[in-house]
């Protein structure tokens, strides 16, 4: 049963682990765990060979590969082809933890990390990144014999939610027993996790709520980009603290989706948010995701934006209508109701179908879109390609939405998140391609921006709430003035979801070249927001992305447009860093969002007459920079916020 490459040959009679498991009683086929489909990833051929042999001796189906990228490809091509992944921590092409994250988000498979390094912090990193176990090399076969427990545990966990009413205590009893069986090598962390997750589940879910769709066999739900967007929108709407699976499910209103699916996804999502806030060095991950294939995400961005925006609005921070109107006004278009109708499109799962596209990747996309509009963001290292821009334009709407989302998420996620991500995001976001750009970003700025910007800039609910009336962006407004350019164009309300032609307005403002830059930079900026992925994708799509960009821009724009930043700092209104970012961002992107982004920490600015604020900001920025009025540079009235 030696599997080569990505081929999956089920030589065992256990086609799929889940299929053979039953909720009650033993729940597993007699042959289990034989036939467990393991994917082992290690760049060391010696270790790989040894592991392969050991796993085969355990009667598992083994697929080995020596590169993380290949592993991801295999996993994606065979969505339900593997039960568990074992990966080395130290790999040349991709950090093992990053792979771990990707797999967890995209495929929801248990992942075991391995390393010769047994230092506590590395093991801890594994835990925080969601590894279900951590093995110290050299690995002994006894350790591998029990890895099936992780698969069972995960399944049971999901089943529990689903079959809550059915099995009830029976399952509980079983579940409790199962993990403890044959636990020779299982780390205590696992058990702890299991208990915690179980506890968490109990807390989260209504005890009495029974999911009618529960079935013994749980078909794996593929969290497509669209689905995830809906999920995130729902979560944002409810508020991350209050988001319980039942309500999320209701909001999502996706036929066939069960509460258990949502619950497990929520768990991962929370883990992700937590991890992102706690792991600042995950730049790589962020990078990739951020910079990820913008193209793909573009499309989805819009939808996401719309969604996010809506979610954001729904959250109550911004009355949906106001938001929509704001956006519309900004864009100069009739208010369109923020609807999540934006075609989520092909946006892959926010969780990044592709490593790069992870959340952050979306940000990138957004940038692209925004670049168009935001040409002002020169400094912003944007990986956005021209094509991105195109997509961005379309997604302008989403952009706005994205911003909102980002904001909301950011707010949810906490500023801390932003702050934390900032350093990281900056780096990664800025890119993978443009390392130099990153360097431009004054770290301080970036950081400051994040902390400042995010809470406030991110159109964070706070900001938005206040300014509900006005353009939502006000929080960002300070910098937003810069963004105004884009705003007028993109006017796309996130809600409106549809790439507004209005973007053109912005784009016209900003020299194409700049836009590109901006886009990139925006993308980068988005990195700062773990949650921004949604937004980014949207951004790319729509001009509204500007919004997102603003946020993003705030993070790194600052760096990019050193000049602007300087001016921004002069501005004082905005938290220097934040403002800077925005300013630079704004200038470049002229995203409306920027204005929203208002670096104000308290987002209060928000609704200040955007144009007014923006103008001031812009002027300040420009003056300092010697750019002159934005308009002159960009050919349009920076404060075009039509809000």
């Amino acid at each position: 049963m030696n599997l080569g490459g990505g081929q999956l040959v089920k030589s065992m009679a256990v086609p799929s682990s889940s299929a053979s498991w039953k909720s009650g009683g033993d729940g597993v086929s007699d042959q289990f765990p034989a036939g467990l489909r393991v994917l082992v990833v290690d760049d060391d051929p010696t270790c790989l060979r040894i592991l392969e042999k050991m796993l085969k001796n355990c009667l598992y189906e083994v697929t080995k590969c020596n590169r993380a990228e290949i592993a991801l490809k295999l996993l994606r091509d065979n969505r339900n082809g593997y039960d568990i992944v074992i990966s080395d921590v130290h790999m040349p092409d991709m950090d093992g933890f990053k792979l771990l994250e990707q797999v967890g988000l995209e495929m929801d498979l248990p992942v075991i990390m391995m390393s010769a390094d047994d230092s506590k912090n590395v093991v801890m990193k594994g835990v925080t990144h969601g590894a279900c176990d951590y093995l110290i090399k050299p690995v002994r076969i006894e350790a591998l014999k029990n890895i099936w427990q992780h698969v069972v545990r995960k399944r049971k966990h999901e089943w529990k939610e689903k079959d809550y009413e059915q099995s009830g205590s029976v399952e509980d009893g079983e579940r409790q027993q199962k993990p403890n069986e044959d636990v020779d090598y299982s780390s205590s962390a696992n058990e702890g996790n299991w208990k915690n997750s179980k506890k968490r589940k109990d807390d989260e879910e209504d005890q009495e709520e029974k999911d009618d769709s529960s079935t013994l066999k749980k078909p794996r739900v593929v969290w497509s980009v669209e689905l995830h967007q809906q999920f995130v929108a729902a979560v944002n709407q409810l508020g991350i603290d209050k988001a319980v699976p039942k309500k999320i499910l209701e909001l999502m209103n996706v036929p066939g989706l069960t509460r258990e699916n949502v619950a497990s996804h929520l768990q991962k999502y929370r883990l992700y948010l937590r991890r992102v806030s706690g792991v600042s060095q995950h730049q790589n991950g962020l990078n990739n995701s951020f910079m990820g294939t913008p193209d793909a995400t573009f499309g989805s961005m819009s939808s996401i934006n719309g969604l996010d925006f809506q979610a954001l609005a729904a959250t109550g921070q911004i009355p949906a209508q106001s938001l929509a109107s704001l956006q519309a006004a900004a864009i100069g278009r009739p208010t369109s109701k923020p609807t999540i109708s934006m075609p989520v499109v092909d946006q892959r799962n926010l969780f990044s179908f592709e490593p790069h596209k992870l959340r952050f990747g979306e940000g990138q996309q957004q940038l692209n879109g925004s670049t168009k509009q935001i040409s002002l963001l020169h400094g912003i290292p944007t990986n956005m390609e021209p094509k991105q821009l195109a997509s961005l334009n379309q997604s302008a709407q989403t952009f706005g939405g994205i911003n909102m989302q980002v904001s909301s998420q950011a707010s949810q996620g906490n500023t801390l998140l932003m702050q934390m991500t900032q350093p990281m995001s900056r780096a990664p976001m800025l890119n993978e391609n443009n390392a130099s750009q990153i360097s431009r970003l004054p770290s301080s700025v970036g950081q400051a921006i994040l902390s400042n910007g995010i809470p406030s800039g991110v159109l964070g609910r706070n900001g938005i709430v206040d300014s509900v009336r006005g353009p939502v962006y006000t929080p960002v407004s300070q910098t937003s003035s810069l963004v105004d350019f884009s705003v007028s164009n993109s006017a796309e309300l996130p809600g409106s979801t549809f790439p507004h032609a209005s973007n053109s307005g912005i784009s016209s403002l900003t020299p194409k070249g700049m836009m590109q830059e901006e886009v990139n930079s925006e993308g980068k900026g988005s990195r700062g927001f773990p949650s921004s992925y949604d937004i980014f994708s949207e951004l790319q799509q729509h001009k509204t992305q500007d919004w997102g960009l603003q946020n993003v821009g705030s993070t790194f724009d600052g760096t990019q447009h050193s000049s602007i930043q300087g001016s921004l700092e002069g501005g004082q209104n905005n938290p220097p860093n934040f403002g800077q970012q925005f300013s630079s961002y704004m200038v470049d992107n002229s995203l409306r969002i920027k204005s929203e982004r208002h670096p104000d920490a308290n987002c209060q600015t928000n609704l200040f007459p955007q144009q007014f604020g923006q103008d001031d900001l812009m002027s300040a920025l420009l003056k300092q920079e010697g750019i002159g009025s934005v308009e002159s540079d960009f050919g349009f009235d920076g404060y075009a916020l039509d809000l």
Binding site: D44, T46, C47, R49, K53, N57, H90, A116, K137
Partner: protein, 141 residues
């Protein structure tokens, strides 16, 4: 591999290798993996190790030729090499690797250079011994 198939010579040599600390329990793990489907698994893995790990030795050597040593890079390289060595149970090699890493962390260039020589020595010594050993195991008793 059944012990009975070992020549007495092979068995003795094996015993010595363990007693003298050249090999540790991981080697036994490899032996236990060997079966009819893979009758020369241990030798296969050891050969794989030596051919693959040569690049680590080369990289380490070139990195150590520099005037100023990049201790972090050296530490990282040695860490990988050590992980690989531990896979086949190369006990003495592993020990020298750890020593080297300690010197790296202490930013002790002289210690690194000295220890690296020992790493290479143990690495080469073990290779010779295992080659001899495998030849013995192929002999009929």
């Amino acid at each position: 591999m059944e012990r009975s198939q070992f020549t007495r010579q092979a068995a003795n040599m094996r015993k010595t290798l363990f007693e003298q600390g050249y090999l540790d329990d991981q080697f036994i793990q490899l032996e236990e993996l060997q079966d009819d489907a893979n009758p020369e698994f241990v030798e296969e893995v050891v050969k794989l190790f030596y051919s693959d790990s040569a690049r680590f030795i080369r990289n380490l050597e070139s990195s150590m030729e520099k005037n100023t040593l990049d201790f972090d890079k050296l530490d990282d390289l040695m860490h990988q090499f050590k992980g690989s060595s531990s896979g086949i149970g190369a006990k003495k090699v592993k020990k020298e690797c750890s020593q080297f890493q300690d010197y790296c962390k202490a930013r002790n260039a002289e210690g690194c250079i000295r220890t690296f020589q020992q790493v290479k020595q143990e690495y080469a010594t073990l290779k010779r011994k295992l080659e001899t050993y495998f030849q013995l195991t192929r002999q009929e008793s």
